[in-house]
């Protein structure tokens, strides 16, 4: 009884601590879950072990008999786990290569031992060898409004060969390392028709869907290690060999941390955000460009989506031995990827930084379900990455800016989708692990970013910004679905443009988000037919349309357009005449064939569909235009330069 009282008192203290405000003045989220952990890093055994006290609040109207938790580190237990089956790989042969998490004790707030009530489930694929989801039957079902407290003792063995998480030598990136609650979805939330836990297994392509939580994490580790985490460092004590650090994270969906003795710690500030960058000491020459990139992203997101709500941000540029941790996102902690020698014209480090920072918004603040709707996470984020990179690093040079080669981030994102032979294999409306033929990246990242860019081309940049501002206002620190996003688009477009695009934009999403068709418009031909005066008749006998024209140089001209792809989008058509006149036509893009006809003392010289390249989904820009006077000079110039290059190359290489 005494033990039980002490435990309840302890939990009361935990809840009070977790609900306290240390970082922000007011809670940003509902804080349905919270975690207080005290762990120790064993650098010999490569383990992180300790105790965790956590809670989940049943905010639904359901009586819930169980809880479900992610035990992601078990994905590295064997090659038979779902993660490695999807990866077609192996965690390694040696015991030190494997990763796992063992639950050593599991009690509820009444001190009941829940270990016997634990079972591993595989809701996604039924793989019995996969132990990444834990179900625990509660001693008493959680009634609406109840808070379920649990106290867990666990030991996590980190895997070698870092894949998102693990260790390499003395480098540690500790992510997906503790038992974490799934999300309980009552009927009506997102696509749930009945209440239940949404707790997916660890997959090769996705890992995030969690409630916004408060984290109090105490880490004890060797004193010579330098650390960084998604929380703020609250206190640090040392006893010579070991040190203990206390971190606190508020309203974030995950907590990860890293430790390495050789990190250089650099700091900067943007408005009220303290930025910390951890990187190898001999890579400090790359720090300024990394800080610039993250500040660019902070500025752009703040202006066009919504404020970054935390006063702290840590990002890590892992050393080459920990490169497997690069390019990951944990909201207030993310990892980039650079190297000691990274030419300034190559903007990949900036791109990775901007992209991973962007996840603080798309799945961090607006916590969509990456497992079920990866486009809402990766695709939307890629769309913003493209905009930021091309805005700050040049419209044509967001990815590469070299005198000999310039590539925009928009092109680098569009081309993998357009050139993929599997671009029509599946729509964006698919669970992350079900994308066939390696299409996950092509469809989730690149196709989604491309059709979002196309949507911006149709409704305008300011409208799309307003869409995302509204999306942020409505869904920050909540869990929207794809349908919720579409509803926001419909609402804002209708508000901004009335019925210019119809009663809603569903016609767009049906084709792009939910469809597998491609978009391809083509100028089929230009026909300039000179008027032939009929024999034996006077001009007055001819059709009235020639009235007022000089019949000696009268032309009937036709711009012949076609829709080759399945997708129908409204497009602009610019028609240029020999006398310098230009006409901008609007085509709803629905018919398979479309003719624009003109009569006058002028011929059509050229025709361009989508002259401003707004429809980036169009899979072939080359057939979007046709001219009667082709300009070959640029091609000949290119060929001349290649000719000279080969000649010089041969003269250098041949003795």
């Amino acid at each position: 009884m005494e033990r039980k009282s002490a435990f309840i008192l302890g939990l009361f203290f935990v809840v009070n601590t977790l609900n306290a405000q240390i970082i922000n003045k007011v809670p940003l989220s509902e804080r349905i879950t919270g975690y207080k952990m005290d762990v120790r890093l064993d650098t010999d055994a490569k383990t992180v072990s300790g105790k965790m006290e956590a809670y989940w609040v049943n905010r639904s109207g359901d009586t819930v008999p169980d809880i479900q938790m992610h035990l992601y580190m078990n994905a590295f237990r064997s090659s038979r786990t779902t993660y490695f089956k999807e990866m077609r790989g192996s965690p390694g042969e040696d015991d030190l290569d494997l990763g796992w998490i063992e639950i050593e004790s599991f009690e509820d707030d009444n001190g009941f031992d829940l270990l016997p009530e634990m079972e591993y489930i595989s809701p996604d694929d039924g793989n019995e060898a996969d132990r990444t989801v834990l179900r625990v039957i509660l001693h008493e079902p959680a009634k609406p409004g109840d808070t379920v407290f649990v106290k867990i003792g666990f030991e996590t063995k980190l895997p070698s060969r870092i894949r998102r998480t693990g260790y390499s030598g003395n480098y540690y990136f500790v992510a997906q390392w503790f038992p974490k609650f799934g999300v309980y979805e009552p009927a009506g939330m997102r696509y749930a028709t009945v209440g239940g836990w949404n707790c997916h297994q660890f997959h090769a392509t996705s890992e995030f869907y969690s409630n916004h939580s408060v984290y109090d994490v105490t880490v004890t580790l060797p004193a010579n290690y330098i650390t960084g985490s998604g929380g703020m460092l609250i206190s640090e004590t040392a006893d010579g060999i070991m040190k203990t650090q206390v971190f606190r994270g508020e309203d974030i969906v995950d907590f990860a941390w890293t430790a390495w003795p050789d990190y250089a710690v650099l700091t900067d500030r943007w408005n009220n955000v303290n930025i910390t960058l951890l990187m190898p000491k001999d890579r400090i020459n790359q720090a300024e460009r990394q800080f610039t990139a993250v500040k660019n992203a902070l500025e752009y997101f703040g202006k066009n989506v919504g404020p970054y709500p935390w006063p702290h941000l840590t990002f890590v540029d892992p050393p080459s031995i920990g490169a497997g941790a690069g390019g990951m996102e944990y909201t207030t902690l993310f990892t980039s990827g650079s190297s000691y020698f990274m030419p300034s014209f190559f903007h990949k480090p900036e791109m990775v930084t901007v992209h991973e920072f962007g996840h603080a918004y798309f799945m961090g603040i607006i916590a969509s379900n990456e497992f079920e709707e990866p486009w809402l996470d990766e695709g939307v984020n890629s769309f913003w990455e493209v905009r930021i990179m091309d805005h700050f690093y040049g419209n044509n040079s967001g990815r590469i800016n070299h005198p000999l080669l310039k590539i925009s981030d928009a092109a680098a994102t569009r081309l993998p989708y357009l050139r993929s032979s599997a671009r029509q294999a599946v729509s964006n409306n698919e669970y992350s692990w079900k994308y066939p033929h390696g299409t996950y990246f092509i469809i989730s990242y690149f196709k989604a970013a491309t059709w979002l860019n196309t949507l911006m081309g149709i409704v305008g940049e300011e409208t799309i910004n307003e869409v995302f501002r509204e999306y942020y206002r409505k869904w920050a620190f909540k869990h929207p679905s794809g349908t919720d996003f579409v509803n926001v688009v419909n609402e804002v477009v209708s508000r901004e443009h009335g019925d210019k695009f119809g009663p809603d934009m569903n016609w767009f999403f049906d084709q792009t988000l939910y469809g597998t068709g491609i978009c391809d418009y083509k100028v089929q031909g230009i026909d300039n037919h000179k008027y032939q005066k009929p024999q034996g008749r006077s001009d007055s006998d001819d059709i009235s349309e020639i009235a007022g024209f000089n019949v000696d140089s009268l032309y009937f001209s036709v711009a012949e357009l076609g829709r080759i792809g399945e997708i129908m989008l409204p497009v602009d058509v610019l028609i240029h005449f020999t006398n310098g006149d230009e006409v901008l036509e609007k085509w709803d893009g629905k018919e398979r064939y479309k003719d624009f006809k003109y009569t006058g003392n002028r011929e059509i010289e050229w025709v361009k569909i989508d002259p401003e390249f707004k429809i980036s989904m169009d899979v072939d820009y080359n057939n979007n235009s046709m001219t009667m006077t082709p300009q070959k000079a640029p091609l000949h110039r290119l060929v001349n330069k290649i000719t000279a290059f080969i000649e010089f190359y041969l003269s250098i290489m041949l003795l």
């Binding site: 390499s168 030598g169 190898p280 000491k281 001999d282 890579r283 050393p319 080459s320 031995i321 190297s339 000691y340 020698f341 044509n396 005198p403 000999l404 080669l405 310039k406 590539i407 092109a411 569009r414 081309l415 357009l418 050139r419 050229w606 361009k608 899979v619 072939d620 820009y621 080359n622 057939n623 979007n624 235009s625 046709m626 001219t627 009667m628 082709p630 300009q631 070959k632 000079a633 640029p634 091609l635 000949h636 110039r637 290119l638 060929v639 001349n640 330069k641 290649i642 000719t643 000279a644 080969i646 000649e647 010089f648 041969l650 003269s651 290489m653 041949l654 003795l655």
Partner: protein, 293 residues
């Protein structure tokens, strides 16, 4: 002093040989055009009457080419295969033409004649081909080894810092750059020796090249280093002109062709200067007379 006088003599002899260099330029231009002319036609028909070529006015546009889809793949395949054929053919033709150049660069050939030039080409062809092949293979093999060793060290080490890894690779590349002049000297001495004495077999000539190079290493290396630096200077001038020059009219493009070919001709003259200077240095400080081998 010998180095300077060899360089000076080399200039005079290479200028004297301008017609021979013109022959080399013409043949190389035709050779490369055999690949590039059909490539240009294919490119032209791939873009057809599209106005996407406007995007190329500002330089290479990856989207314009990528949107060609399967046509682009065919173009790349055609270009790659053609380039390999041009390289191999160029290797053989170069062995042939350098025979004429070295023959005409000799001290006793004061006046250029086409007959002598082509006589030298045919007389030296097989020997020069073997010499070029052997030196090229040795250089490629050594370069590969020198690069692979540090890469192996880097990939097998978990503790090496990126800065040290980068420094190691740079050192390896620098070492390769340092030994390249030696191999060029061996090849040039061997060919100059063979041109001076037609009785030499190619392997004897190679031995002569090595003995000349290492027999008077200091003066030879300084000479070659100077010649390479001069060629690098020319390369920098060319690189500062051409990438940024983007004419958009037919006349401008034609001017680009003329200037680029003129530059290539200068480049060949510089290379001939190298042959001539090495030949001159050999003649002035012959350690082992090729005729006595």
């Amino acid at each position: 002093m010998k180095v300077l006088s060899s360089l000076k003599t080399g200039i005079l002899r290479s200028i004297r040989l301008w017609k021979g260099v013109l022959i080399v330029w013409f043949i190389m231009f035709i050779l490369v055009s055999v690949l590039m002319y059909p490539f240009r036609s294919s490119l032209g028909s791939a873009f057809g009457t599209s106005m996407i070529t406007e995007k190329l006015e500002g330089g290479f546009d990856v989207e314009a080419f990528a949107d060609l889809g399967s046509t682009m793949k065919s173009l790349v395949t055609f270009f790659t295969a053609g380039f390999v054929i041009v390289y191999l053919t160029g290797f053989i033709i170069n062995a042939f033409l350098t025979g004429g150049l070295f023959h005409s660069l000799r001290k006793d050939n004061e006046k250029f004649s086409y007959q002598e030039f082509f006589r030298g080409c045919s007389a030296n062809f097989w020997s020069f081909l073997v010499i070029s092949l052997i030196i090229t293979l040795i250089m490629s093999f050594l370069s590969g080894i020198i690069i692979l060793i540090p890469l192996g060290i880097i990939s097998s080490s978990e503790t090496i810092s990126e800065k040290n890894a980068y420094t190691l690779v740079i050192c390896a590349v620098a070492f390769i750059l340092m030994i390249i002049p030696l191999f060029l000297l061996v090849a040039d001495y061997a060919r100059a020796g063979k041109a001076a004495n037609s009785n030499l077999s190619c392997f004897t000539a190679l031995g002569f090249g090595f003995s000349q190079t290492f027999g008077k290493l200091k003066s030879s290396y300084i000479l070659m280093l100077f010649l390479i630096l001069a060629q690098i200077a020319l390369g920098i001038i060319i690189l500062s002109i051409f990438p940024a020059w983007r004419p958009v009219t037919g006349g401008g493009v034609f001017l680009l062709l003329i200037i680029s070919q003129l530059m290539f001709y200068f480049r060949l003259l510089f290379k001939t200067w190298r042959y001539a200077s090495v030949t001159s240095l050999m003649e002035s400080t012959l350690v082992v007379k090729p005729g006595n081998l």
